[in-house]
Structures are given as structure tokens and as C-alpha cells.
């Protein structure tokens, strides 16, 4: 009975994950794409829970669906959702090549995983109930992977500073651009 329940949850989560992923790629309005990505992230969190990675699932919902997607939606709303139909003007050689390359990546990944690890994928290791809990993750993070932890914090700091500099620079260059524009207009008249 429990088996059937787990399989049912898995099938629902996996299919909503794939469907919302395809929706992100195929919606013409970026706003709807961002909303579909929230569904994708939520169903991925369910898959993480089924793999007993509770802390990563919680982090996924908090960091991605909470913080990153809010930023995405704000920027999309600020820029105005400009429609961009993915198949506008009929299929071109570029789009044909894109579909071909994505299909090649898919086949490649599945063949390599099947060849290298095909027989060993059904023997899952025994885990205790503490696997994936915040306690265990925090202990591993601050002992074995301390360097990765510190480097991650530096990466986040550099990204924050970089985006502030980008924003300040673009505002300054915008005003000078307007000045140039005004001078050009004056020269024309």
C-alpha cells in the first residue's frame, strides 16, 4: 500500500515537473514562463523529499521559489512582458539545430548513464532516519566541506557587489546617453 502511495506521488511530481519545464520553454510571455518555473521548482522539491533530502527541499522552496523567483517576477514586470513567440516565422535552420542539439544531449546523457551505471542503480544504500536532516547537513558542511562553505559565501558577496555596480553604472551611462541624444537632436535642428 505504501509502495503504491510513493509511486503515485512520484508520478504526479515527475510529470508536473516535466510539463512545467516544457511550459517554461514554450510560453511566449516571460511572466508566464516565470510562473511555470515556480511550479517546476515546487515539484522538484517533492522529488527531493522522496529522495530523503529534506533540508535541500526546504532550501529549494525558500531560496528558489521564495527569493529568486520574486526577483525574476519583479524584473519581468519592470521590463514589461514582451511577447516572443518561440516558433514565430516558421521553423528555421537555427531552430532545427536547437531541437537536434537538445535531443542529442538527452540521448547522450541517458546512454552514458545506462552504460556506466545501468546495473548498479537499483541497489540503494541503507540510510538512517537522520540522512538529509539539517543537523547532518550542517555537521558535514562545517567539518568536511568548510572550504566550499566559505567559497560559497564569497561567491554570493561578489555577486551582490557586482550587481550593485552594474546597476549604478547603467544609471550613470543612461544619463550621459540622454545628454548625447539631446546634443544630437540639437545638432539636427
Amino acid at each position: 500500500m505504501a509502495n503504491v502511495l510513493v509511486w503515485t506521488v512520484w508520478v504526479i511530481a515527475a510529470f508536473s515537473c516535466l510539463a512545467s519545464g516544457i511550459a517554461v520553454v514554450s510560453f511566449s510571455n516571460p511572466f508566464f514562463s516565470a510562473l511555470a518555473l515556480i511550479g517546476n521548482l515546487a515539484s522538484l522539491a517533492v522529488l527531493y523529499l522522496l529522495l530523503s533530502a529534506e533540508f535541500v527541499a526546504a532550501g529549494q522552496v525558500l531560496v528558489y521559489a521564495g527569493a529568486v523567483m520574486v526577483m525574476f517576477l519583479f524584473v519581468t514586470a519592470y521590463l514589461g512582458g514582451r511577447a516572443d513567440a518561440p516558433w514565430a516565422g516558421g521553423p528555421s535552420w537555427q531552430q532545427f539545430g536547437a531541437v537536434l542539439a537538445a535531443g542529442a544531449i538527452l540521448v547522450e546523457v541517458i546512454v552514458v548513464i545506462g552504460l556506466k551505471a545501468g546495473g548498479r542503480l537499483s541497489h540503494e544504500a541503507r540510510i538512517d532516519s537522520g540522512f538529509g536532516s539539517p543537523h547532518r547537513i550542517g555537521r558535514v558542511f562545517l567539518t568536511d566541506h568548510l572550504l566550499a562553505f566559505e567559497i560559497t559565501s564569497i561567491v554570493l558577496l561578489v555577486a551582490a557587489v557586482g550587481s550593485v555596480i552594474l546597476g549604478a553604472h547603467s544609471r550613470r551611462s543612461e544619463t550621459t546617453g540622454e545628454l548625447v541624444h539631446n546634443e544630437e537632436a540639437r545638432a539636427r535642428t
Binding site: N3, V68, S122, A148
Partner: protein, 102 residues
């Protein structure tokens, strides 16, 4: 309680990665290219967590958390660039944005 094998999770991860790659190659709006990049990163994350469950080893989950942090910083810088491009009144089309000169 036994659910699906790790192989099923890896198949979902491969499909997600290919979907994201298709979006990156196909779409012209830089916003949707960034969203598709997120899908690719999440496919890789799912594979990492599935292998971490397979081997009963927490390091895969640590790696997934680091990937999430990198994805967040990538989004911050990418969105900053997109806003800067939009403020210069340029077309938001990755096919037309072929000059680095500001």
C-alpha cells in the same frame, strides 16, 4: 516503503536538462534564456541528490546546496545585466545583442 529506483530520477533529470538546453538554444528573450538555465541547473541538482541517495552519502546534497547558491548569484548578475541593457533602450533579443561595446 520502496519507491521508484534512482534510474527513474536520473531519467527525469536528463529530460529536465535537455528541456533547459532546448530553451537556451531556441529562445531569443534573455529572460527566458535565464529561466531555461535555471531548469538545466535544477536537472543537474536532481541528479546530484539522486546519486547522493544511491550511495547514502551527504556530500551530494552539499554540492546541490552550493549549486543553488551559484544559481542565485548567476540570476542576480544576469538580471542586473538585462536591466542595464533595457535602460540603454536596446532590443531584448539575444540574436541582436552581438556587440560588447557599451
Amino acid at each position: 516503503m520502496r519507491g521508484p529506483d534512482v534510474a527513474w530520477y536520473l531519467a527525469v533529470a536528463a529530460f529536465l536538462f535537455a528541456t533547459g538546453a532546448l530553451g537556451v538554444l531556441l529562445r531569443r528573450s534573455p529572460l527566458i534564456v535565464l529561466l531555461s538555465l535555471e531548469i538545466m541547473l535544477n536537472g543537474a541538482n536532481l541528479a546530484l541528490i539522486a546519486f547522493s541517495r544511491l550511495h547514502g552519502e551527504s556530500s551530494g546534497q552539499i554540492f546541490a546546496l552550493a549549486v543553488m547558491a551559484v544559481a542565485a548569484s548567476e540570476v542576480v548578475v544576469g538580471l542586473g545585466l538585462i536591466v542595464a541593457i533595457a535602460q540603454k533602450r536596446l532590443d531584448l533579443d539575444v540574436d541582436k545583442l552581438s556587440f560588447l561595446r557599451g
